[in-house]
């Protein structure tokens, strides 16, 4: 990074129209069709997650032995009481998918919080103090990066024991280096700037310098990474649950549902198709928004 984009606000004409960086970014975001598509998809999932008990037609765990393996409504033998069909326990697929969004959003929030918190902390400390501390922390991050992330997550869960909680921890830990690298880079860049030195001269302590002065100026790449992080967390959690290492049955989690559907692959294509489609859509939503945010927040990266 050589020059930092000089604010255009200096010119008088621009000053009138300028809204502040946040509003400007939001305006740019609104024009970005990809980002808007992402926001719409994510909103749908959020609504599904928040209002599951009112939207879902059935209890996601309720079994009905008379209604096993019912096909979706448009297929022969399907009915409106089970719009997407049922699984081998006669559980309503639609309701399970709706409740599943709850778990996926939760996984995203918890896993991303873990990696965001520890990654930011590690990156900020490394970048701010430099020298030996920097070396040690970043070496540690390199080691975590030396494993393909899904493998590391699998292995961590294998040793901690399979459960949704441990899967969230594993996924969070695996992504820490991504955040640490971003924050360290930004901190290094910002630290050299005059305003930081000015604040220090005014007597600001290290903690204040890092959290009040420096970090707010590193937010853009961090927000982008956080959004993309939701996408990979949801995908990885679904993969772990699919392998039986995350959410355990009968939890209505998409990956776990897919694992159950796999056994029914010859008899019930719907039990495989719909949970996977949900994973794809949710991941896509966050990836779209992340891409859009990157364009909107960081004009330097725009084409």
């Amino acid at each position: 990074m050589t020059t930092t984009a000089a604010p255009l606000k200096n010119s008088a004409a621009e000053a009138e129209k300028s809204y502040g960086p946040l509003t400007e970014a939001l305006l740019r975001l609104r024009k970005n069709k990809i980002a808007v598509a992402g926001i719409i998809i994510i909103s749908l999932f959020l609504v599904m997650a928040l209002f599951s008990q009112w939207i879902a037609p059935h209890d996601p765990l309720a079994q009905s032995l008379y209604d096993k393996l019912k096909p979706p409504v448009w297929d022969e033998g399907g009915s409106w009481s089970y719009p997407l069909g049922t699984d081998d326990f006669g559980r309503d697929l639609l309701s399970r998918i709706i409740y599943g969004s709850r778990i996926s959003m939760l996984v995203g929030i918890v896993a991303v919080s873990i990696s965001l918190f520890f990654g930011t902390l590690a990156g900020a400390v490394a970048g701010f103090y430099g020298g030996k501390i920097d070396n040690i922390i970043m070496r540690l991050m390199d080691i975590l990066l030396a494993f393909p992330s899904i493998l590391l997550a699998i292995v961590i869960v294998a040793f901690l024991g399979p459960s949704l909680r441990n899967a969230m921890i594993a996924i969070g830990v695996v992504s820490i280096p991504r955040y640490a690298r971003i924050v360290r880079g930004s901190v290094l860049e910002e630290y050299a700037k005059d305003y930081v030195q000015a604040a220090r001269a005014l007597g600001a302590g290290d903690v204040r310098l890092i959290f009040i002065h420096i970090l707010p100026n590193c937010l853009a790449p961090l927000i982008v990474q956080t959004t993309l992080g939701f996408a990979s967390a949801i995908l990885e959690a679904a993969a772990l649950s699919f392998l039986g290492l995350g959410a355990q049955p009968p939890t209505p989690e998409w990956g776990a549902m897919l694992a159950n559907g796999r056994a029914l692959i010859l008899r019930a294509w719907w039990a495989v198709t719909f949970p996977g489609l949900m994973i794809l859509l949710a991941v896509l939503g966050f990836n779209l928004l992340g891409d859009g945010l990157r364009d909107a927040l960081d004009p330097r990266l725009r084409e």
Binding site: L144, P148, I154, V155, F159, A231, A239, L243, G255, I265
Partner: protein, 334 residues
């Protein structure tokens, strides 16, 4: 250049050491007694004690790590509990399957990804460009374990075009030398086996190639767009050169550097990502083997397999770095 390679080689040492420490400590992350976790709650006190001694769990930590490293240097990863076979032997048997799958996947991803990226860049904002970009956005978000199942439903169960899973049909005999079946069947000129192995390979390889293909398409497109904006491209066009020469010789050649890097990195990731694909298609590779060890609570095997995959991953990344420095001499040792 040789200085760079040497430097890059030396930087491997702390990373590999770190990996070994992390892998070593994994067994201590197990809540409670690892021996009991492996043998189950009903195991006798005697067998528990034996296993603890066998794993070296009764010794102080630093001694344990020393023993672990000493064994590692001798190329001894211990034995798999289920089969009592040497872990190195088991891995050596399965690694070629993963290599075959990963190479096939990266070839598919490179061919289709680069082609899509080049056409998109030369016809920016065309219908093809939009379609291929939408597909690549979907591609990077793809849960490949689901895609694999859907492909199975379509191409094996409904259409019956491709075999459902495995590497080779039961009735096919193939003498294995390299254990890379396509290579083996060519070497022994066993064409029915070649066709059978290829048919088995198509679906898993395509499934595994989805994400890298999408990433390669995106990076090729953006890298090409950047190059095509340069003055020398305009000059080349003005000279009257045909589009093929302009786009491929003058354009692609200069756009290749980031593409090559991404292909290399993705290949490394594939070796790890193959776990899911191998599991779905019952592909007897290293990923499925590690997962089976996880299910069997054979922690020794998990450690060995993880160590190997991580080392391979690090080595591939190093080769990518060196390749990168080679195609781009501006890079210096940092």
């Amino acid at each position: 250049m040789s200085k760079f390679i040497l430097h890059r080689f030396l930087s491997l040492i702390p990373t590999l050491l770190g990996i070994s420490i992390l892998v070593f400590f994994m067994i201590h992350m197990i809540p409670g007694d690892p021996a009991e976790m492996m043998l189950g709650e009903r195991a006798s006190e005697q067998s528990l004690k034996e296993l603890r001694e066998d794993l070296g769990l009764d010794k102080p930590l630093y001694v344990q790590y020393g023993l672990f490293m000493a064994r590692l240097f001798r190329g001894d990863l211990g034995r798999a509990y289920k089969t009592n076979e040497k872990i190195t032997t088991e891995i050596a048997e399965r690694f070629p399957a993963t290599i075959e799958l990963s190479i096939a996947a990266i070839i598919i991803a490179t061919i289709f990804g680069m082609a899509a990226g080049i056409i998109s860049a030369t016809k920016q904002y065309s219908i093809f460009d939009y379609t291929s970009m939408v597909f690549s956005l979907i591609g990077v978000s793809m849960p490949i374990f689901w895609l694999g199942l859907v492909l199975m439903i379509i191409f094996s169960l409904n259409l019956g075009w491709l075999p459902l899973s495995g590497r080779l049909s039961y009735h096919i005999n193939l003498e294995t030398v390299t254990r890379i079946y396509l290579l083996d069947s060519i070497l022994s000129q066993n064409w029915p086996a070649f066709k059978d192995a290829l048919w088995h390979l198509i679906m898993p390889a395509f499934t595994l190639s989805t994400i890298p293909m999408a990433i390669i398409a995106r990076i090729t497109r953006s890298s090409m767009l950047e190059v095509l904006r340069q003055d020398y491209i305009r000059t080349a066009k003005a000279k009257g050169l045909g589009p093929v020469v302009v786009y491929l010789k003058h354009g692609l050649k200069n756009a290749l550097i980031p593409v090559i890097t991404v292909i290399g990195l993705q290949f490394g990731i594939l070796m790890g990502g193959a776990i899911l694909t191998e599991t779905i298609f019952a592909w007897p590779g290293i990923g499925k083997w590690i997962l089976d060890a996880v299910y069997a609570r054979d922690f020794n095997a998990v450690q060995g397999g993880t160590m190997l995959v991580a080392t391979t991953f690090v080595l591939i990344n190093m080769l990518v770095d060196i390749l990168y420095a080679w195609v781009n001499p501006r890079i210096k040792v940092s």
